[in-house]
Structure formats: structure tokens, C-alpha cells
């Protein structure tokens, strides 16, 4: 087909080029009618959803739609596709897939342990730094600052204990 077929606003029928009437309403809304029957009904203010032969009626009363819906659902089930991605080659993916759960758990635990040790290390370093700072402040300022120095350490320790 060379030219586009448009749809009738009233009945939902296809309008071939050279047929049909176009109506522009006062608010610049355009309506396309397939024939004078649709046009007449529109002007007489009949509702397409009440006329059995229109597409709107069929949609509302759900005729002929069940078959379409079933078809669409069938296509969407996909199989897990084995393909190599940039980050990991096919062999690595397959190896990971065939790993047993116990192996996976062991690997996970090892990783967690590493992370915990890392956190502990950074915490110790921070504590050490703070202790140095506190000792320096002690030398220069009065004793009143000591309790202030102790307080921020407290909540930090609690946070470290809670994480574990």
C-alpha cells in the first residue's frame, strides 16, 4: 500500500485514501469518519460504545481479544542463554553455574572474613591516629578536653562492635 489507511474515530474501521470525511471541531480537534453513517451518528451524539458493530463496543465487551492475549504471553518465556559476556568468558560462567552450593558458601564466607579484617584494620589505624591527636592536645591544652576526647571514641567502639 502506498498511502496510509487511517482509522475512523467512530467505528474503528480503516479509511482508505479518497474516502471518508474529516471534521474539525471548534476546539481544533480533528475527527475522521469512514462514511456518512459514522458521521451522522457522531453528530446525533450516539455513543460508539453502545453500538454493537463498532470497534469500541467490541473492545469494551471483550470480543476476540482473548486469543490475542494468549499468543502474546507464549512468546515471552525465554531460556537462560549461555553466552560469554565482556566481564567473564563462557568457561568462567559455566564453572560458576556448576559450582556446588557448599563451595559457594565457603567462598562467600572467605570473602566476608576478608572484608571484616579490612574494616578492623582501618578502625585500628583510626584509633591510633586519634590517640596521637589526643596526646598532643593534652600537652598543649587543659585537662578539660580529655573527657571530650574520650566521648567520640565511645560511640565509635559501639559501632565497631555492632557491625560484627
Amino acid at each position: 500500500m502506498v498511502l496510509k489507511t487511517e482509522l475512523c474515530r467512530f467505528s474503528g474501521a480503516k479509511i482508505y485514501p479518497g474516502k471518508g470525511i474529516r471534521f474539525v471541531r471548534g476546539d481544533s480537534q480533528v475527527f475522521l469518519f469512514a462514511n456518512s453513517k459514522c458521521k451522522r451518528y457522531f453528530h446525533n451524539r450516539l455513543k460508539p460504545s453502545k453500538l454493537t458493530w463498532t470497534a469500541m463496543y467490541r473492545k469494551q465487551h471483550k470480543k476476540d481479544i482473548a486469543a490475542e492475549a494468549v499468543k502474546k504471553r507464549r512468546r515471552t518465556t525465554k531460556k537462560p542463554y549461555s553466552r560469554s559476556i565482556v566481564g567473564a568468558t563462557l568457561e568462567v560462567i559455566q564453572k560458576k553455574r556448576t559450582e556446588k552450593p557448599e563451595v559457594r558458601d565457603a567462598a562467600r564466607e572467605a570473602a566476608l572474613r576478608e572484608i571484616k579484617e579490612r574494616i578492623k584494620k582501618t578502625k585500628d589505624e583510626k584509633k591510633a591516629k586519634k590517640a596521637e591527636l589526643m596526646s598532643k592536645q593534652q600537652k598543649t591544652q587543659s585537662k578539660g578536653n580529655m573527657p571530650k576526647g574520650a566521648a567520640p571514641k565511645g560511640p565509635k567502639l559501639g559501632g565497631g562492635g555492632g557491625k560484627r
Binding site: P17, G18, I21, R22, V24, G26, S28
Partner: protein
């Protein structure tokens, strides 16, 4: 006929007096220039009531037929006030305008139109 005015030139309603183009012309269609008198005008504008002006018809309730068979019908009759050369007097145009006007050298009107 009484026509609405589709621009902001100041007139609100026009009454058609004469169709320009032929001595015995009966009806004017979209794109025809008519002589009209202003029946109703917006206050404080350069155009006054009972002033005779020219206008070009842009919308008709009678269908407009196109070469490809398309028929277009509007909901009202409307015109745009123009001067002797064909330039619109107003600066804005309201409502849809038919494409036929472009072929008749009313390009200014067409360019101002929203649709």
C-alpha cells in the same frame, strides 16, 4: 453571512457583503476574499464597528474537497481580516486553518496558524 474572526485584529464578527473575484459570484469558499463589515468589535482596537474591510475565509461549515478525495468540514465559519495586499491585520490566528491557503499566497496567515 455572519462569520467569526479567527485573529486578534480586533473584530469579533463580520458580515459578508460581497465576494471578490467575479461580478456574479454567489458563494465564497475557503481562500476567497470577501468584503465584510464589522458587526462586533473588541473595544480599544484600531478596528471599529461598521467598518468595511476585506477578509479571507479560513473555515467553513461547508465541506472542502481536496484532490486526493479528502473532505474537510469545520464547525464554524471564520475569516481573517486582511488588507489590500493580503497580509493579515492581526498578529495571532486562532483555530485550525486549511492548507489551501498556502497555495493562494496567504503564507503569512498559514505561518501564524497553530495547526
Amino acid at each position: 453571512t455572519h462569520l467569526n474572526v479567527a485573529d486578534n485584529s480586533g473584530a469579533r464578527e463580520l458580515m459578508c457583503i460581497r465576494v471578490i473575484g467575479a461580478s456574479n459570484r454567489r458563494y465564497a469558499h475557503i481562500g476567497d476574499v470577501i468584503v465584510a463589515v464589522i458587526k462586533e468589535a473588541v473595544p480599544n482596537t484600531p478596528l471599529e464597528r461598521s467598518e468595511v474591510i476585506r477578509a479571507v475565509i479560513v473555515r467553513t461549515c461547508k465541506e472542502l474537497k481536496r484532490d486526493n478525495g479528502m473532505i474537510i468540514r469545520y464547525d464554524d465559519n471564520a475569516a481573517v481580516v486582511i488588507d489590500q495586499e493580503g497580509n493579515p491585520k492581526g498578529t495571532r490566528i486562532f483555530g485550525a486553518i486549511a492548507r489551501e491557503l498556502r497555495q493562494l499566497n496567504f503564507t503569512k496567515i498559514v505561518s501564524l496558524a497553530p495547526e
